[in-house]
Amino acid sequence: MSRLIKQYSANALLGLLLGMVLANIGFADYDELHRMLSLKDPRMLLSFVMAIIMAGTAFAVFAEYLPRQKKLFHPGIIPGSLLFGVGWAVCGACPAIVFVQLGMGKLPALMTLVGIFLGVKLYRYVHARYLRWDTGSCSV
């Protein structure tokens, strides 16, 4: 029971921190995101790159305590990333950002939320019916 409470608490804490960090960097701001994607302002891109370098260094130094969980290179990586990239620029949100936008009072983000939900549902159907490759998403 205490283990379950710890897991719920950890999820809640990390969710709160992620929401706060993303909001304070500006990833939930459509205009700020487009300034980054149009290569007019490198601030958020530099934050992203620094976060990767910092986490990568920590994973390398503390490899014993932070075991690697690599992603599979499956046939969906390229077409899925293409779709996601275009969708990200169109709606200004990724699966985490949409919640931050809603938290900031942006009501149109409700449409993004519905869209993401429909997209996930549609992919589940298409994958089960036609694709069926191992995406490794259970380990995400």
Partner: protein, 206 residues
Amino acid sequence: MTEYWSWWQGGLALGGLTVLFRLLLHRPLGVSGSWLKIASSRQEWLADHQAQQFANDQAAVSHALLQATLAQFGEQALAGRQPGSDSNKQADPKNSGASPASVGQHAVFLVCIFIGGLLAALYTGRFSVDLELSQLLTSLSHGVAQSWLYLLFGGMMVGFGTQMAAGCTSGHGLSGCAQLSVASLAATGIFFSCAVFTAMFFSLAL
């Protein structure tokens, strides 16, 4: 309204969070996986329910077979085994493999991202209830109502694309690239390039 964090403040916070996620939850930071859990929660519940029913039926069948074996061959044929002991184990919900808590944990995580965004917006003075996401988007889509359709369409591409690629900016971009995963490096390069090209196209269209 306060300024956004500088690049190094944001990098430190985001990088620290990526490491903290792995330390506390023993899984890579990723949000598209939580979406998948929530979207498939009903199917998972049904599968667990069916597995439970099957386990209960199997227990009854096993018990009947055991009784028949005892009646035919006597207790010596089952030396050291108690009638019904295996079937009781199978009927135990703890052994059914059901994990409804994991869906709950993912839901708590997503709801808390919303609360975190709300708290940050209230603290920095950026909170405002708006029907318009951005003037840029409204200009691109020629109206607020049309912009909502753009968001629905864009959201569907994000949902479909992240599930197909099995990751998003956090799963592939932060966790995957930090581990030098080839799949994540390729995915991040592709989705970022596509987003840049799309944003450039929008800039030209205006």
